[in-house]
Symmetry: C2
Subunit: 335 residues, 2 copies
Amino acid sequence: MRFIVPILCFLMAAASASAQPSDPVVLVVHGGAGTISRDRVTPERETAIRSALEEALRAGYAAIEEGNPALDGVVDAIEVLEDDPHFNAGIGGVFAADGTVRHDASIMDGATGQAGASTGTMHIRHPIQLARAVMEHSVHVMLNEEGAEEFAIQQGLEIVPNSFFHTEHRRRALEAAQERERELQGDAGYVPEEWQMIGTVGAVALDNEGHLAAGTSTGGMTNKRWGRIGDSPIIGAGTFVNDATCGVSSTGHGEYFIRLAIAHDIHARAMYGGETCTEAAEAVIHETLTEAGGTGGVIMLDRHGNVAMPFNTKGMYRGYITRSGQVTVKLYADE
Amino acid sequence: MRFIVPILCFLMAAASASAQPSDPVVLVVHGGAGTISRDRVTPERETAIRSALEEALRAGYAAIEEGNPALDGVVDAIEVLEDDPHFNAGIGGVFAADGTVRHDASIMDGATGQAGASTGTMHIRHPIQLARAVMEHSVHVMLNEEGAEEFAIQQGLEIVPNSFFHTEHRRRALEAAQERERELQGDAGYVPEEWQMIGTVGAVALDNEGHLAAGTSTGGMTNKRWGRIGDSPIIGAGTFVNDATCGVSSTGHGEYFIRLAIAHDIHARAMYGGETCTEAAEAVIHETLTEAGGTGGVIMLDRHGNVAMPFNTKGMYRGYITRSGQVTVKLYADE
């Protein structure tokens, strides 16, 4: 039994694996999931978000087309979104309860299984670059707060004041969250609302060599306190990739994504359970996450260039670009 | 194919699942894996470690025998090991590069899927209690450094000065590590040695209701810097449990355990791949971890009371207690 089960499952997995699409996807990005619906997004904002997602896709695509590794595609795409104040990462990251913007990020290389992550940084222009530096230039996977910043300075990464990331609309969101908290007289029992968790960004890329990479970057949760760490910097929750299966980047109510190890679970269902990565991603979001009461979504890109972008919220900022350069960008559930 | 594969795998898993042992294990603990061999452990130290492991087992067993939930068994067992200077957790936690002792801990409830974790605390007498408080009394899963301590103080947990945790032998270990680092003139390239990672503690318990829980507590890595976070506070890496399969607590070179999502991978192989949890634990340590070049081990307890304690180091401090109160304690690979 010990040997028969894995062999049978492997054979069934091989039989059910999706074939290479004629125009495979090489890069998929997300800009967060949540209460994203037509009556809540102004036309100007919709246009700005669609064009930012396309810009991110074109930036990452350019790197991959030039023959660079998938990691470059992921970093180049995420940097565009970190620089755009519409997303909860880099500039426009949400405010923590203490009035600072604190970033978390992670990245993983599907070819080597190497990974890097940083949590709670306040002064790193591009947190996704720091996650990559942790992976490539330290012996560790995850660095924390001041220590992570010390490492970033040693690595020569761009350092900016925390105010560089501040935006007026995020400050108003913090004030609204704190007002609501006072109304509820809540503290430890205060349950964050869905709009407080919109906007994490992420990317998964497939390079010309057939290698995958995935990354995620966020400001976390509006009004977060006690040094709350969400799923974005957690390998296996916010980010996971393995060349044998697929890459995943998550966005949503991070506590559920950590407890369910969402990104690794998608890999594991494909690796051990004989599902395609698309089936696995759909099942993990629409069954596992939904049945647990969690909200959010993932982007998934498999080693054949098949893409999935399941979510159980009203919308998710998302898009992908194919080998031939065809861009698709979507915001709402009915697109 | 989408439905046939999971059903077949489930049937095969059911057929291969181990039966309930006649005297099932109700609690398993570890006190770290590493270069533990007879020529490196004095008789006095060996006696002290064996008796501490037995004391931890008896403490957790008492809680479970009284009809308390598995979580109580885990916390009561780990508290004994946190209070014992022979282990790298609580008192006797290793020193970080800056001369402080900083604790990480995590806990998870197999019945509900709830989890809690804390990182980098310096003043919490029993970090495993903090992890449990995060799980039970906050809306978050993971709290960080000062924020975690603020929460612990609000929760009324016991607060002590950092010097409470300091021990002479750990200070000498820090000095030795820093001397070695200077010799290598290393910095980011410095690779920690196996002895720097011994001593994390953990427990997995099965209560009278058939529910599982798992927890892990550590001081991390001697001479750790840049706020390095290891696997112990990461749900899916250092700790994972699901009543449908088994509970796992990890110890070893944490970076490998994070990248491989070791604890969740054992669950996933059993859940989706049709292996027993024992087969899964053995495969993940002796194949996945070993092939990746990582060192360490896990303790695994499944819902039937089957136990596994695989490791690929020279030894692992480990033991378990059965429903009837039979205690087994082992240190070396040949026991």
